[in-house]
């Protein structure tokens, strides 16, 4: 509150007190003198025997009425002062507000001063109220904003009390545990709320340990022995602020399944790449060393050995090319050189290249191309690589004695190259991830065959670069159909 009102309060109080004292003294003196004089007059009349009784009565009446008149005037003089006093006394009670002060309906200087003071104080009070309401609104908005942020956080955030019971949690946490009812989890224990989606008992034990462990912890929580089922990064901090409660814990849970899967695929790739590089290298080294040391080998056998070295070197070179293609794709630096391509000729070439592999497995490899298929514009090497990968995969993942069919269809704007097989087929969940780099199906039959998880990623990227796409249809244990759709040019 401003200092001015209190100053003026003391000033007006002092002024009115001073003048009031004078006034009261003056009035007292005046009436007392008149009363005294009338009393003396009566006493003088009582001494005079001729005095009449009615005059005596009159003489008594005068001082009495003077006394009454004096009292009336004095009361009027102190009336406003006593009002002020009453109000001040009542205001001294601790919980009374300024609003209980009333103005005095008089026009004495005291009343005027008081009224002005009261109105100023009330005005000030009104401003204070406005200020209070404003800051309340602002605070409420801030709380609302913080709440919205809390709910919008991508990570699940949970506040638990010292026993691990949920006090507060956001919607991301509800999503994580698959609960759609808001606030249904409050009051439950954190462990109980997570339990329904955890298939790995160790995960709950780990959380329990965190709850009773040190104040700051981070762990990676696997919900199941399969990464696909979910991996969370859980961090826990024991609250130090009193506002959150003694021993309260704040948990933040992030779903890191995707990055874990990517990491797993990368690790698998490193392992596969090492394998793919070392195997032909081992063969080259073994045969070269044998040729160098065993000088008595027959010429025919020497030739065989040289051929093997040549084949293994080719295999190594092809793998390095694929690696390079993928890393270029990753950097977005792959370039497409466009030429007119006679796809029927190209496909015949590619199928014949792969025929020995399918003959080894006793498979039928068919090429069905309708007459007069339109030419396509594109990068011959890259398209050949993509189609080769598809045919190679079909042969590889189809059991002995199966059939692989390369079939071409077209309409005015597109050409469709289907590579169909009667192979293992691809499960639904594998289908979703099949095109991603380094990913290989977890199907045991696939894992038992070597492969680097690059072929399909490459084919997909090549299709995209040509303005087309790669689509896959498959039924497990029946077969798959990979279709390369390319615009005709």
């Amino acid at each position: 509150m401003l200092p001015q009102p209190s100053e003026s309060l003391t000033m007006s109080k002092a002024k009115s007190a001073l003048s009031l004292a004078y006034r009261l003294c003056g009035q007292h003196l005046l009436f007392a003198t008149i009363g005294l004089l009338s009393f003396v007059g009566i006493v003088a009349m009582l001494g005079d025997p001729t005095a009449r009784v009615d005059l005596l009565f009159l003489a008594l009446l005068v001082p009495v009425s003077l006394f009454l008149a004096g009292s009336f005037f004095i009361k009027r003089s102190v009336d406003s002062v006593s009002q002020v006093e009453r109000q001040l006394v009542s205001f001294s009670a601790p919980d009374l507000s300024i609003e209980t002060l009333r103005s005095i309906p008089e026009s004495t200087p005291l009343a005027n001063g008081w009224n002005q003071l009261v109105s100023k104080a009330q005005q000030q009070e009104v401003w204070n109220g406005v200020e209070r309401r404003l800051s309340e609104t602002i605070n409420a908005q801030q709380v609302k904003r913080l709440e919205a942020i809390f709910q919008q956080l991508p990570d699940g955030v949970v506040l638990c009390d010292e026993r691990g019971i949920i006090i507060e949690c956001n919607s991301a946490f509800h999503n994580l545990v698959g609960n759609t009812e808001s606030n249904a989890l409050v009051g439950q224990s954190l462990l109980e709320s997570i339990k329904p989606i955890v298939q790995y008992p160790k995960a709950l034990d780990a959380l329990e340990q965190m709850l009773h462990g040190p104040a700051n912890q981070v762990c990676e929580l696997r919900l199941s022995d399969r990464i696909e089922e979910g991996v969370w990064r859980v961090s826990m901090k024991r609250a130090s602020q009193e506002t959150l409660g003694q021993g309260a814990t704040v948990w933040s849970l992030r779903d890191v399944t995707q990055s874990q899967l990517a990491e797993q695929a990368r690790e698998q790739f490193v392992a596969t790449a090492t394998h793919e590089l070392r195997t032909p290298l081992a063969n080259i080294r073994a045969y070269a060393e044998t040729l160098a040391t065993a000088t008595d080998i027959q010429v025919d056998q020497q030739l065989d050995f040289f051929n093997i070295i040549n084949n293994e070197a080719t295999r190594l070179a092809r793998f390095v090319d694929e690696l390079l293609n993928v890393s270029q794709m990753e950097a977005g630096a792959i370039t497409v050189q466009t030429h007119e391509i006679y796809s029927d000729r190209l496909l015949t070439e590619l199928v014949e290249q792969q025929r020995p592999l399918s003959v080894d497995k006793g498979q039928r490899l068919e090429l069905l191309v309708p007459p007069k298929i339109p030419r396509i514009r594109g990068d011959k090497d890259k398209l050949a690589g993509a189609v080769s990968n598809l045919i190679g995969n079909a042969i590889k993942y189809t059991p002995n004695g199966g059939t692989v069919k390369v079939r071409v269809e077209y309409d005015p704007s597109q050409i469709y190259i289907h590579v169909e097989d009667t192979g293992f087929g691809i499960s639904k969940e594998d289908l979703e991830r099949l095109g991603s780099k380094f990913y290989r199906s977890s199907d045991e039959r696939v894992q038992n065959l070597s492969g680097n998880g690059l072929g399909l990623a490459f084919a997909q990227e090549v299709a995209r670069l040509h303005g087309g796409r790669l689509t896959i249809r498959s039924e497990i244990n029946v077969g798959s159909c990979f279709t390369l759709e390319l615009p005709t040019g």
Partner: protein, 142 residues
């Protein structure tokens, strides 16, 4: 040196090209080599025949090298046969576990030298022959 041992070696290697050259080199050094193209085939051979040394790849379709060692040591209960493994991966083999749990004597990584391999085979066959002889000598001394 190698010729004097004349041991019987079981080689489990799924890569046909590598298996052939291993057999070629080991046979030239005087060993008797049986080549198994899969882990399962090797397991069958182990159950029926007796060998002086097993040399196995780790990465094989079906029964892999680790499975094969487990089968040999725990199901067949054969703890004497020296085992050497070769792996194309430098990452996934837990060498310590292979040595302590499965009694693997040597681990070599592709690409390895044929001379190294022959030397390794001779050494393992010699040392196992020596440990077999020792108790014999002791019993005759008594």
């Amino acid at each position: 040196m190698a010729e004097s041992v004349n041991g019987r070696i079981l080689v489990a290697e799924d890569n046909k090209v590598l298996g052939d050259v291993l057999r070629f080199n080991l046979e030239r050094s005087g060993f008797h080599v049986t080549l198994a193209r899969t882990g399962d085939a090797a397991a069958k051979l182990l159950a029926g025949e007796s060998y002086d040394l097993m040399f196995t790849d780790i990465e094989m379709p079906g029964m892999n090298g680790v499975d094969l060692c487990r089968y040999l040591r725990f199901e067949l209960g054969n703890s004497d046969l020296p085992v050497a493994i070769c792996s194309a991966r430098g990452l996934e083999v837990d060498e310590q576990e292979m040595r302590t749990k499965y009694g693997v004597s040597e681990i070599i990584f592709k690409p390895f030298s044929m001379r190294e391999l022959v030397a390794l085979a001779s050494r393992l066959l010699n040392s196992s022959a020596a440990t077999e002889k020792q108790p014999l000598d002791a019993s005759t001394a008594e």
